[in-house]
Amino acid sequence: MVVTKLSDNEVDRIFQALADATRRDIVQRVMVREQSVSDLARAYAMSFAAVQKHVAVLERAQLITKERRGREQIVHGDPQMLRRAARLLDAYEEIWRARVESIQQILDQDNRKGTES
């Protein structure tokens, strides 16, 4: 069985990074198209420094990447890491699907016994 080993710290950083509404918004924007930090700063009622700080948190969680282009810092989204976090929840969903399936089988057996007697 091939399962990509997720580093716990890595995933925890993703979850923490996404716990903030501004940061989620930044992720959404840069997933759609790349933006400069100055573009992002104009979109929020907060200082350039504050936006830059959010960008840094997202960068540490590897949800975004930043590159310098001339005087601008360009921010790109990295869907790979989001996928990895979501994959964990997907796997847990499958566990519940299987349980519900088994419960249904037990209840079906009840019904069959009921009609036999």
């Binding site: 091939v2 993703i14 964990l88 969903e93 566990i95 419960i103 037990i106």
Partner: protein, 164 residues
């Protein structure tokens, strides 16, 4: 169709699973209350669960282990924190080591189970809270190898939301 809805919240680290069964609430409650019935569905066929203790009352403890195809027996525990029979109960859940000692990492999670009568059927809503990704990962490992494999191929919902 027994699965009504699934809500995964990556940010809040919760998974809410809603299913409906064509059986009375009391019958579905038994499936949780009676350890012999619980172990018939808690683990998947390749990872059957055995409940060593199942003290189904507030303050009670459950201890269980799964048996993997390789013959390993990862262990877990529940602490029942709320019981409102036959419609609601809550428990903390965590892992134990091979000696049955509770492990401090990963940090324990919490689960809420609600059973409701909907036109003679039972709607079961389970919500799992994961304090850390590590716990979620361990739960997944212990829960279902197949699930992991299936999930690998799935396109994640969050990514779809993000691209809207």
């Amino acid at each position: 169709m027994t699965v009504v809805s699934v809500n995964k919240d990556v940010e809040a680290r919760t998974l809410t699973f809603v299913a409906e069964f064509d059986a009375p609430v009391e019958r579905v409650w038994q499936l949780w209350e009676d350890p012999r019935q619980l172990e018939r569905w808690w683990g998947p066929p390749s990872y059957p669960a055995t409940f060593v203790t199942h003290d189904f009352r507030v303050g009670g403890e459950s201890t269980y282990y799964m048996t993997t195809p390789e013959g390993e027996t990862p262990r877990g525990w529940w602490d029942i924190t709320v019981i409102d029979a036959p419609t609601r109960f809550e428990f903390d859940d965590g892992f134990s080591d091979e000696n049955g000692e509770r492990m401090t990492t990963p940090e324990a999670g919490h689960a809420v189970v609600v059973l409701e009568d909907v036109n003679g059927k039972t709607r079961m809503t389970t919500t799992n809270y994961f304090p850390t990704a590590e716990l979620l990962e361990e739960m997944v490992k212990m829960g279902m190898e197949e699930g992991m494999r299936l999930a690998m191929g799935q396109i994640d919902d969050l990514l779809k939301e993000v691209s809207v």
